[in-house]
């Protein structure tokens, strides 16, 4: 008995610091968001910040549209790339993983700014077009440039998890499928896609979440004309000092993301049980 007590005391001592830390700096801050969202600057309760959200319907819609678009494009490019990559020799795979990850070690701000230099009115592409006598294109300030920024910055987060799953897949499964008469498309639909679903899901989450909440990409590549939720939150907090509205916007963003992640994970689990939902 005494021993058991000593053991649980020791476990408690080990867990204490982290539990305390995560309570104060993870859990309480979430409540702070809710607190600020439902109070005014004097600290009195109000629905005002929530009511104000209707003003940002379009911003939410555009953010959702661009980030979904970016996620889908990223997936379409990444999946075949990851598949081919997983079939190569071990050393080629290691090399390619390194090459995929390398740009991510560069700060996102710089990478994005560099794209601005490439795409802007007097930028590199337009300079080249000018040299061969073509009209300059307007790229900065379009939705396309913002989506390109998202795809560019987050594509490694899609490639790597899918590749990690595909490379672990037993090649005998595909041989078995072929043996049973499956064509390439059937193999893809029936074997490769269902088995790589966990990687696809985490890739989708890891591209979608930072895309929908970004503000830097839209600032630089949107040319100040395209406002996403992130920009609105950032402006309320850093420029307008309206913490309460900033908090209510953050609250909605957070709830939306947590809910869609829960849904995605649910879908992923269902799919394992009955193969009803197909991704394609």
């Amino acid at each position: 008995m005494k021993h058991t007590n000593r053991r649980s005391l020791r476990t408690g001592l080990l867990n204490g610091p982290y539990l305390l830390w995560s309570a104060i700096f993870i859990v309480v801050p979430l409540f702070m968001i809710a607190y600020y969202a439902f109070t005014d600057s004097s600290g009195a309760f109000t629905w005002e910040n929530i009511r104000m959200l209707t003003l940002y319907k379009e911003t939410f819609a555009i953010s959702l549209w661009y980030s979904l678009l970016a996620t889908v494009i990223t997936f379409i490019i990444s999946f075949p790339f990851a598949y081919f990559m997983s079939r190569r020799s071990a050393s080629a795979q290691r090399m390619m993983t390194l090459l995929i990850m390398l740009p991510m070690w560069m700060n996102l701000l710089i990478r994005t700014y560099s794209w601005m230099n490439i795409l802007e009115r007097n930028g590199i592409i337009n300079n080249i077009l000018g040299l061969i006598g073509l009209e300059p294109l307007k790229m900065i300030g379009t939705g396309g440039a913002v989506v390109l920024g998202m795809v560019y910055n987050y594509i490694p987060y899609m490639i790597i998890p899918i590749y990690t799953i595909l490379v672990k897949m037993d090649p005998a499964l595909l041989e078995a499928a072929e043996d049973l008469g499956a064509s390439f498309l059937v193999k893809l639909r029936r074997i490769i896609l269902p088995l790589s679903l966990p990687g696809i899901l985490s890739g989708i989450i890891m591209v979608f979440v930072p895309s929908i909440s970004t503000f830097y990409i839209s600032q630089k590549l949107g040319g100040g004309k395209i406002m996403l939720i992130g920009d609105v939150i950032d402006r309320q907090i850093q420029t307008a000092y309206n913490y309460n509205l900033g908090a209510s916007l953050s609250l909605v963003l957070m709830v939306f993301i947590l809910l869609s992640m829960a849904l995605l994970n649910r879908a992923g689990k269902d799919d394992n049980e009955d193969e009803g939902v197909m991704l394609i």
Partner: protein
């Protein structure tokens, strides 16, 4: 300390995990210098018992005594026992020398003495020249020897061995069984050995402790356990057994399968219901007219040295091991002599074991493979 004296005693030990009773009022005395084997299926509590002796686990109730001193609450690092773990638990980041030197180093023995002791141990387990070798590059048998050396260098009074041969292949296992047995004789210290392999238990031990569901079913020498099992569980678990319902007529007279037999057992009430054990190798097959029992051969399996013959007698399938071949469908007689019969009192295991109608070798083997505590 004298031989024959109890070195370890467990009294009324109870342990439960998450509300599940793992040891149930376990009582066990272990004499000094013995090779004791705790034998049982996975989940019977044998490893738990070993962990209680080592001090990795404290019982919920009951006392543990070393040399008549209560050891409850004494941490493992202060107990005069050492352990050979399942899969050995050699420290992967140390080489052979450093693994063996671990114990003395913790006890702050001077490095010079350690060197001498390790060299001695390496010689003892026949691993001279392996000092600098990484333990990850050793074969199973060599790892086993390093584990032994690592434990014995601390001169424990008791060596605990937790299924140490389970990871080895059959041939090596047989060799190591002999090696361990000789080692114990040579050292004269107490070995407490845990295994689920009944052959291993019978061939190595002075004393076998058969455990089931957190209790001791029977303690005895291998011969006692085999020849005089206390109940149907032990009879079935150790070796093959035909276990039948019978009735004691009076001392030395028992009735089963509708026939009266002479036996060597006494001390039962006249008319008492009993369980009868007859080992397959103790039955003789004779021509039907000479048999005490008559039945039909339903299957014959060649096992190399002998045939395993299943004979149906009044619906009960007997297993008989014999060197003579008998064809399926033949009528044969069985002769069961008094010393082939062992009478046991009825227990909660009565009627659960002993008929070979659904006998399958593979199932037995599978259940042993999945064994892992």
């Amino acid at each position: 300390m004298l031989k024959e004296q109890n070195i370890i005693e467990l009294r009324d030990i109870c342990v439960s995990f998450d509300g599940e009773q793992v040891l149930n009022n376990l009582n066990l005395s272990i004499r000094n210098g013995e090779f004791v084997t705790l034998l049982g299926r996975s989940g019977c509590g044998k490893t738990t018992t070993l962990r209680i002796i080592a001090g990795f686990l404290e019982p919920d109730a009951g006392d543990i005594l070393f040399d008549s001193n209560r050891m409850n609450g004494v941490p493992p690092y202060e107990r005069p026992v050492n352990t050979i773990f399942q899969r050995y638990a050699l420290f992967p980041h140390y080489n052979v020398y450093d693994n063996i030197a671990f114990g003395p180093r913790v006890r702050k023995v001077p490095e010079k003495e350690i060197k001498q002791q390790v060299t001695e141990m390496l010689k003892f387990v026949n691993l001279q020249g392996f000092e600098k070798r990484s333990v990850n590059l050793l074969s199973g048998g060599q790892q086993q020897r390093v584990a032994i050396a690592r434990a014995l260098i601390n001169r424990p009074q008791v060596l605990l061995l937790d299924e140490p041969l389970a990871a080895l292949d059959l041939k090596l296992r047989k060799d190591m069984q002999n090696e361990l047995r000789n080692l114990q004789r040579q050292l004269g210290i107490t070995f407490i050995y845990v295994t689920h392999d009944q052959e291993e238990a019978l061939s190595m031990s002075d004393t076998v402790v058969v455990m089931n569901e957190g209790r001791v079913e029977q303690i005895g020498t291998p011969l006692e356990i085999y020849n005089e099992p206390i109940n149907a569980f032990v009879a079935d678990f150790i070796g093959e057994a035909n276990i039948l319902d019978g009735t004691m007529n009076n001392d030395y007279r028992v009735n089963f399968s509708g026939h009266d037999f002479q036996c060597l057992d006494k001390g039962f009430k006249p008319g008492e219901e009993v369980d009868i054990v007859v080992r397959p190798e103790d039955v003789d097959i004779v021509p039907p007219e000479e048999g005490m029992l008559i039945g039909e051969v339903t299957s014959v399996t060649f096992r190399g040295v002998l045939f395993e013959i299943i004979v149906d007698i009044g619906g009960f399938k007997w297993m008989i091991q014999t060197t003579d071949y008998h064809e399926t469908g033949h009528r044969v007689g069985l002769s069961v002599l008094p010393d082939a019969i062992h009478v046991m009192r009825k227990s909660k295991y009565s009627g659960l074991y002993g008929d070979f109608s659904s006998y399958s070798d593979e199932i037995d083997q599978l259940s042993e493979l999945t064994e892992d505590e």
